[in-house]
Every structure is written in C-alpha cells, then in structure tokens.
Symmetry: C2
Subunit: 302 residues, 2 copies
C-alpha cells in the first residue's frame, strides 16, 4: 500500500463508526435534512458526526479559507454496505439468480449446463459455492443481450416485488437511515450526491432516484457497452453487450469518477477495501476534503 | 439508412434553419433567457423558433398530455458546428497541432519523425493534407500520457490565450448566439443541458462551464481510459491512456448518452451526419420530442 496522503486540512478516516440506530426505514418517510444543529438526528454525538458537520461548515461558509463554490460540491458514496445492506450476498446477485429461470426458459439448452443447472436446483449450499467464473457467466446471461428498455422493465419489476430473505421487505427499503441523513444533509448544503458503486450502473439507476433521491445520471457503476441498431420496425434500440467498459471497483472508482463526473469529489464514503482508492483520491485534493470509511453492517447492528 | 421513426407527437427536423443573426458575442454578455414570448430574441419568427417554443410549452405545462417532470428534462447538444465554429478545422485539432512543439521538446527524437516533422515545418498546405492515421498519432501524442491535472492546465492555458486565425478572438468566444439562447431558454424551463460531442470529453470539460454554462459532468465526449497510480511522493494520480473507451460520434452518441446520462433526451440538436443517430434516438422516445438539425455554419453567415 502506498503511503497515505495527509496534506489536506481535513481528511478523516474513521473505522467502526459509532452509530447506534441503524434502523431500516422506508426512504419515503425521510424529510429534507435541516442545515442546522439538528442535522443527522440518528447519529450519536461524537467525532464522526463532528467531522461531517465541521466539513460542511468549512466548505459552505463564504468567509472560510476552505469555501467551495456550489458547482464544485461533489460527494460520492459507495452503495453496497455503505448505503444499503450487502449481506449475505449483493442484492444484484440475488436479482441475477432470480432471473436464471427466465433465461433458461428462453434458451432451454442451458437447463443442463453449469452453472445454470445448479442455480435451477435451488440448492443454496451449492449456489453459495459457485466460482467467480461461474457467477460471471450468470451475470452476463442475465444482464446483457437484451435492449436497455427490456432490462430496465425487468429490473424495475424485481426491485418492486422481490423481498430480502431475512427482513421480508423489499431490498430498496433496506437502506441505512444514518447514511440517508448524510445524503440529505449534504444536498441541503448544495452538494451534488453521486453513487459510485461496484454494482451494475444500469441496475442501480433503475431505483436510485426513488430510493436515495439520486437521479440516474448521478450513478457511476460497473458498466458494459451497448450497441445502437434498429428493430424490425426500424425503431432505434440500444442492446446491452457482454463487454466491460468500466470495472468500478478499487482503482476503477477514481477512474470512473474521472470518466463520468470529471471532477474530484470533496467528500467520499465507503465501507470496504474496494473503496480505498476513491477515498485516497478524494483526500488528496486541495483544501478541506472528507474521506470516510463507515463500518455499520456487522451482524449485531443490522 | 433505416426508415425514419415518426410515432412521436412532435419530431421536428429542420434543415437550413433560418437564422439571420449568427453574431458571435462573448458569452459573458448573456443574461438568463426569459421564459415568455421574449425568448430566443435573435431568432427569426418562423417554424424553427415556433417548434422550440411549442415543445417547451408542451413539456412544461402540467396540464399538457406531454408534460415531462423536471427531473427527466434532458437536452443534448452537439458542439462543433452546432454550438461553436468548426471551420476550417476543429478547434481541438488546432490545440493538438499547437502542442506538438512542446511534445517534441520533451522527446527530441520525434523532430525528424512524421507526422511531427511536417507539423513543425509550419507548412499549412502539407499539414492540411495529413492523413487520418497521422492525425491520430498527433492526437494520441498530445492528449494522452500526462496526468489529468497536467492536461487540464495545458488545455486551460490554450483556451485562455489562443486565437482563431480568421476572427482574431479566443475560440471560446466563437459560439453561436442563437444556440446560447436555446441553452438558456431550455435551462430556464427546467431542462438539464448536456454537450454530446465527438470532441474530447476532457478537452471540452475544461471550458464548458465558462463558455456554455454547462458543468463538466454534463459533457459527454470521445473519452479515453485513465490509470490510477501514485507519483514519487505517494500522491494519487490519474494518467490519460492512449486507449479509446467511447468514440462519441454517429452510433456512439446514443451509446454515450446511455453510458453517461442513462436517460433518453427529450430534445437534441446537431448539425451533421455524425449527429443523425442521436437525433433519431431522441425522436424515437414517447411523447413530445424535439430533434433539430441546425445548419448555420456556412461561409456567408459566419
């Protein structure tokens, strides 16, 4: 690991953030966060909360040496494990597994081919042991080959209906209330909030506005190419290709931020080693920057 | 060419748009466009202007069947020949040619290698005859290999100082007043305006906010990859790679729009065959859509 940069005025990396109330509530119940001392109500008073409110004061007060003009206020958030649950497996992987029967129905010859055969068996133990190359086969088969419109409709239907096995609630309700408060608090202070996720960009865009108040164009994720062509009626279509353009993990996060946003964030939030480079890149900028590692998805607090 | 789709309520493709006053004025002199009948003051009354104002009324009136919620109001604009001049050669190509001496200074062995030798000769006739592969060599040599920060500084310096040979004014002042008015008018009506250019994404982002009021994250352009690493002091850097991720021309425009924005535009403006697919893709959406081909860069009106 390279030496950690520390020339910024405010780079705070906090591990095991002390959040007591990681209650999971529907986002529709969230009101706009206030800008005053009542911000972040579900956070304990402590260094983590203080770091966030200090950062916001420092970057939004016009008399502050660290003042950031509104148009440059960019904040990026990892999703899985940072904004919503990631255990026992990524929600998008559940989506892909759930799609396998439909894929096999369209291509019956796959029924006796691995890894599809294992997925169809319903044997959870065997499914959990699938190798990475096998999982990639499932991802390509369920996330590519269809038009962009067809994919959006399928993914929307799933996110509307599917429920997490533990909580018996839609995945889109399993977001972390304290982080929803951070999103709202930063937006109320002029920050443009982005998701920067290792998950599929097209997948997360389906629900990002409804669940996080983040529009599709502010979702950066692992992205494949598309091909523009015409359907049999001459109507333009975009088809999702099994070709990876951006692997938005690790070093791919700052690379993706440059590609899709073109500015270095002033604040970044992540929860795992896959976010390290994004947090470093954010922290290495001039002036006040906030790089936060939030660990709140342990079994006890979930 | 595939059959033109025509199921939208309002798809207007106007060739040879009747604009009398394509005066070139500094954008700093532009005020926010009004939303009323005083919109688009430098446009002649006629079908082109009418199509734009009808489209805006139809999509922003809550009682209209074609009402579009504010968050979905996306409008995309080609740049070269649509928003600013493109003759006799693209401004970015001038930038690349102007950078050649600095590249050769850093790598003296290139002085006697083509196409660099021809560029250094200053022989305009010979430079104008360079082949596409030769031009690509110049583009890769001048647009890649440096950090993102170094490139931004070099491009900013050039756009601040370089002047067009015909008008003796900075390139960034050679924008089309009628199109600046369209940008302002759409923004005043809740549209998010994007540049979707065959030009380099990183290049256009350097001046887009100052020149068009369009922030860097709303510029989609031809884009190369970057590599995240650390400099000798351990500071994170992003280096521009000679690897093409998105060729944002022709079919690449709707593909780029999907990658970078993730929503189909409601309005698109272009001026050449390289914009055809973007205009088709926009026009093929549901409800009211505006696809406009503007031809205003002929010698007489420039």
């Amino acid at each position: 690991m390279p030496p950690r940069t520390n020339h910024s005025d405010l780079v705070v990396t906090l591990v095991a953030l002390a959040i007591l109330f990681t209650s999971l509530i529907p986002t529709s119940a969230l009101a706009e966060a206030p800008t005053s001392s009542t911000a972040l109500p579900s956070w304990n008073d402590g260094p983590a909360k203080q770091a966030i409110t200090d950062f916001v004061k420092s970057t939004t007060d016009p008399s502050s040496p660290n003042f950031v003009p509104p148009e440059a206020r960019i904040a990026t958030f990892d999703q899985d494990g940072t904004l919503w649950v990631e255990h026992p497996i990524y929600s998008q992987v559940v989506y892909c597994l759930d799609r396998v029967p439909a894929v096999v129905k369209a291509k019956p010859e796959l029924a006796n081919v691995e890894p599809f055969k294992t997925v169809l068996s319903g044997d959870r133990g065997a499914i959990a042991k699938l190798s990475t190359p096998d999982l990639e086969k499932i991802l390509f088969a369920t996330l590519t080959g269809m038009t962009v419109g067809t994919f959006e409709a399928e993914a929307k239907k799933w996110t509307d209906e599917a429920k997490d096995g533990r909580w018996k609630r839609p995945y889109t309700e399993l977001t972390y209330q304290p982080m929803q408060e951070v999103l709202s608090y930063l937006r109320a202070n002029g920050f443009k909030t982005y998701i920067v996720t290792g998950g599929g960009q097209d997948f997360v865009r389906v629900y990002s506005e409804r669940v996080y108040g983040i529009p599709p164009e502010q979702v950066v994720g692992t992205a494949g190419g598309t091909t523009y062509s015409y359907d049999t009626e001459g109507k333009p279509i975009l088809t999702k290709d099994p070709k990876l353009l951006l692997n938005d993990n690790d070093a791919g996060k700052p690379e993706g931020i440059h590609l899709m946003i073109g500015r270095r964030p002033y604040a970044s939030f992540g929860n795992s080693s896959g976010d390290q480079q994004m947090l470093e890149y954010t922290g290495a900028g001039e002036g006040a920057r906030l790089s936060m590692l939030v660990l709140h998805d342990d079994a006890t607090r979930e």
